[in-house]
C-alpha cells in the first residue's frame, strides 16, 4: 500500500498538467450522424431550401403578390424571369413557392418548438413525481387526445377568425400530447436509476433533478421525435390550407399552392409540380435526418 504523498506525487508525475477534454455522448452522436450520408445530404438540401426562403425577395425581380398582366398562367420561361411560370392571377410562381416555404417551415419549426417546450416539461414532471400527480396529468392528456383535431381547428377559426398564429397554437397544442407521453415514459424508467437517487441523497431539489438529470437524458428520443414531428406539422398545415383553413391570401403556403395547382392539373402542370417537389423534398430530408439521428443517438448508453 502506498502512502498518500507517494500517491499524489505519482499522480502529478504521471499526467500532463493540462486537463484532458472528454468526449461527451453528444459529441459521439454528432460524429456518428456526420458519417451518415443520407442525413448529411438532407441537411445540405434543407439548408439550401431554408436559405432560399430567407433570401427570397433578393432572388426574383417580382413580388409575391405582384400581378404580371402580360403573363397569366404561363409556363416556365427563363427569358422573362418567371422560371417556375405564373399562376392564374399572373403572379410569379418561383417567388410564391419560396414564400410558401417561409410559412411552411415557420409553422413546422414554431409548432414543434411549442410542443417541445410544453410536452417535455409536462411529461418530465408527470413521470418524475409519479403516483397521483402522474395519474391526473396523464388523464388530462387522454382527454385532449380524444378531441377531434379538425373540429378543434374549425372551432378556433370560427371563434378567432383566420390567423396564422392560430395555426401555430392549434398544431402545437395537439403535437405536445405525444411528446408528453414519450417523455413521461422515459422519465418513469429514469427516475429509479441510481444517479437520480444519489442526487436525492445529496439533497438536490426536485426542480434541479428534473432539469439537470432527467431532461438531458430523455433528449435523445425527444430530438428524434422532433425531427419526425416537423414534417408532420408541415403536412398538417398543408392539409388545413388545402381545405381552405390555412393562411390567408395573398400570403401562401405549400399547401395552398398545391391546392391551387391541383385544380388546374390538366391545363398547367407546373403549378402543381413545383410546390409539390419542394414539399416532398423537405419531408424526405426531415425524415432522413430523423433516421440518422435515431441511429446516432442509439438509446443504449455505452
Amino acid at each position: 500500500m502506498m502512502n498518500k504523498s507517494e500517491k499524489t506525487a505519482m499522480l502529478e508525475a504521471a499526467g500532463a498538467p493540462d486537463e484532458i477534454e472528454g468526449r461527451s455522448l453528444w459529441r459521439d452522436a454528432r460524429i456518428r450522424l456526420f458519417r451518415n450520408k443520407a442525413a448529411v445530404g438532407s441537411m445540405i438540401v434543407l439548408g439550401i431550401i431554408t436559405l432560399l426562403a430567407i433570401f427570397a425577395p433578393l432572388l426574383s425581380p417580382y413580388e409575391y403578390d405582384q400581378i404580371d398582366w402580360g403573363y397569366i398562367q404561363e409556363g416556365p420561361n427563363w427569358e422573362n424571369g418567371h422560371i417556375f411560370g405564373t399562376d392564374g392571377n399572373g403572379r410569379d410562381l418561383f417567388i410564391r413557392v419560396l414564400y410558401g416555404a417561409r410559412v411552411s417551415l415557420a409553422v413546422g419549426l414554431l409548432a414543434t418548438a411549442v410542443s417541445l417546450a410544453i410536452g417535455v416539461t409536462y411529461g418530465a414532471v408527470a413521470g418524475y413525481f409519479g403516483g397521483r400527480i402522474d395519474n391526473i396529468m396523464m388523464r388530462f392528456v387522454d382527454i385532449l387526445y380524444s378531441l377531434p383535431f379538425m373540429f378543434f381547428v374549425i372551432m378556433l377559426m370560427v371563434v378567432f377568425g383566420r390567423n396564422i398564429f392560430l395555426i401555430f397554437v392549434a398544431l402545437g397544442a395537439v403535437e405536445w400530447l405525444t411528446m408528453a407521453r414519450i417523455v413521461r415514459g422515459q422519465t418513469l424508467s429514469l427516475r429509479r436509476r441510481e444517479f437520480i437517487e444519489a442526487a436525492h441523497a445529496t439533497g438536490v431539489s426536485n426542480f434541479k433533478i428534473i432539469f439537470r438529470h432527467i431532461i438531458p437524458n430523455v433528449l435523445g428520443p425527444v430530438i428524434v421525435y422532433m425531427t419526425l414531428t416537423i414534417p408532420q406539422v408541415i403536412l398538417t398545415e398543408s392539409f388545413l390550407s388545402f381545405l381552405g383553413l390555412g393562411v390567408q391570401e395573398p400570403l401562401t403556403s405549400w399547401g395552398v399552392l398545391i391546392s391551387e395547382g391541383a385544380k388546374v392539373i390538366e391545363a398547367s402542370t407546373w403549378m402543381l409540380i413545383y410546390p409539390a417537389v419542394f414539399l416532398a423534398l423537405t419531408l424526405f430530408c426531415f425524415n432522413f435526418i430523423g433516421d440518422g439521428l435515431r441511429d446516432a443517438l442509439d438509446p443504449k448508453d455505452r
Binding site: K7, E19, S24, E197, A198, H200, A201, G203, V204, N217
Partner: protein
C-alpha cells in the same frame, strides 16, 4: 485479505446514529379489483447504534431488506414506523427544510458504479454537485480546486475532470462515486454493496480506500454486502438480516469465532477457507428450501421454515434479540442449546 480494519471506533462517545424499531412496509395492491392491499414487510423492527468511526456490516440474502434499510436510514424511502435518531434527533418524517442541512453529513455509494453517474455530465460536474447544492457561496475556481483535490485523494488523475463516466472502468467509476460522497466530508456513508460489481483485485483497492478515508475523516460506514469475507475485512460489527428481521448483531470477532444463531452459523460455514485440508473437513450447515415470500412471512421466528433446529415454540413465539454477552445479541429461543 486477512488484514482486518485497523481503525478503532470511538465507542465511549455517544452514538451518531440510533435506529429504534425501524419498520418499512410497502403496500402491494391486492389481486382482484376490490382485494385489500397486502403489506410487504421489507424491514420489520430493526434496532442498532452506530458510533463515530465505526463500520457496521449488514449481511443477508437477496431480498432480506438490506438495501431498503440503508435507504430508510437516509430517508430516501419513508419508514413506516420507528425512529432514526441522527446525533440524538429523530429524522423520520422530518420536513424537507430540516432534512436539507443534514444531507451533507449523510451520503450513499451504490452497487452499480456506472448507473450511479449521470451519463450526460462530466465527472467534474458529478463530483461538484453536492458542493454546488450545499455550499453555493463557493466560487467556480474554489469548487474546481476542491474537486481536483478529492479526485487525487481517491486515486483519480485530476486531469480527467472533463471526461465522461463511460470513459472510465468500473473501479474508476466507483472511485468517482466515492469522491462525490466524500466531497462534503460527511459523517456517515451508507455503502450499498459497493464492491459486488467489481472484480476481486479492484474490490480490495476500493475497500482499502474506504478504510483510509474512514481513518482520515473519522467516518462511520454502514456496509451492506453479501460477501462475508469482505465484511470480515472492513467491519467492526456485523448485523445479520433475514426477511427484514435482525437475527444476530455482534462484534466481528465474536460472530466469526462463535456465531450463535443457526442462520449465522450456516452463512459463516459457507465461506470457503483457502486451505483444502480444513475446507474438506469442516462442518458445513446447508440450508434447504428457498427464502419464504416476504408477503407472507412464517409465524413466530421467520427463519423456522429453514432452520434445522426448529421446534414447536418457534412457530408460536417470535424470539427477541437478547444479549448473550456484552457485545453479542441474538434472536433465537434455543441459542444456548444449539
Amino acid at each position: 485479505m486477512t488484514a482486518i480494519n485497523p481503525n478503532t471506533p470511538k465507542k465511549d462517545s455517544s452514538p451518531i446514529l440510533s435506529v429504534r424499531d425501524l419498520k418499512v412496509h410497502f403496500a402491494i395492491p391486492g389481486k382482484g379489483l376490490f382485494a385489500p392491499d397486502r403489506q410487504l414487510k421489507a424491514v420489520d423492527g430493526v434496532n442498532f447504534d452506530l458510533y463515530p468511526g465505526e463500520t457496521l456490516g449488514v449481511v443477508g440474502e437477496s431480498g432480506c431488506g438490506k438495501s431498503t434499510l440503508g435507504r430508510a436510514i437516509l430517508q430516501l424511502i419513508a419508514p413506516t414506523e420507528g425512529k432514526v435518531a441522527w446525533l440524538g434527533k429523530d429524522i423520520v418524517g422530518a420536513p424537507h427544510r430540516e432534512m436539507q442541512p443534514l444531507r451533507r453529513d449523510l451520503q450513499i455509494i451504490f452497487q452499480d458504479p456506472l448507473a450511479s453517474l449521470n451519463p450526460r455530465m462530466t465527472i467534474g460536474e458529478i463530483i461538484a454537485e453536492p458542493l454546488v447544492t450545499h455550499k453555493p457561496e463557493l466560487g467556480k475556481e474554489e469548487i474546481k480546486a476542491r474537486v481536483k483535490r478529492m479526485m487525487a485523494r481517491v486515486g483519480l488523475l485530476p486531469q480527467m475532470i472533463n471526461r465522461y463516466p463511460h470513459e472510465f472502468s468500473g473501479g474508476q467509476c466507483q472511485r468517482i462515486g466515492i469522491a462525490r460522497a466524500m466531497i462534503l466530508e460527511p459523517k456517515l456513508i451508507v455503502c450499498d454493496e459497493p464492491v459486488s460489481a467489481l472484480d476481486v483485485s479492484i474490490q480490495a483497492q476500493i475497500v482499502n480506500l474506504l478504510q483510509e478515508l474512514q481513518r482520515e475523516f473519522d467516518l462511520s460506514l454502514i456496509f451492506i454486502s453479501h460477501d462475508l469475507s469482505i465484511v470480515r475485512h472492513i467491519c467492526h460489527r456485523i448485523m445479520v438480516l433475514y426477511l427484514g428481521n435482525v437475527m444476530e448483531l455482534a462484534d466481528r470477532d465474536s460472530i466469526y469465532a462463535a456465531p450463535k444463531h443457526p442462520y449465522t452459523k450456516a452463512l459463516i460455514s459457507a465461506v470457503p477457507i483457502p486451505d483444502p485440508e480444513i475446507e474438506r473437513n469442516k462442518e458445513r450447515i446447508v440450508l434447504t428450501g428457498d427464502l419464504p415470500s416476504p408477503l407472507s412471512p412464517p409465524s413466530g421466528c421467520v427463519f423456522r421454515t429453514r432452520c434445522p433446529f426448529a421446534k414447536d415454540q418457534c412457530a408460536r413465539e417470535t424470539p427477541k434479540l437478547e444479549h448473550v454477552s456484552s457485545n453479542q445479541e441474538v434472536a433465537c429461543h434455543f441459542h444456548e442449546s444449539i
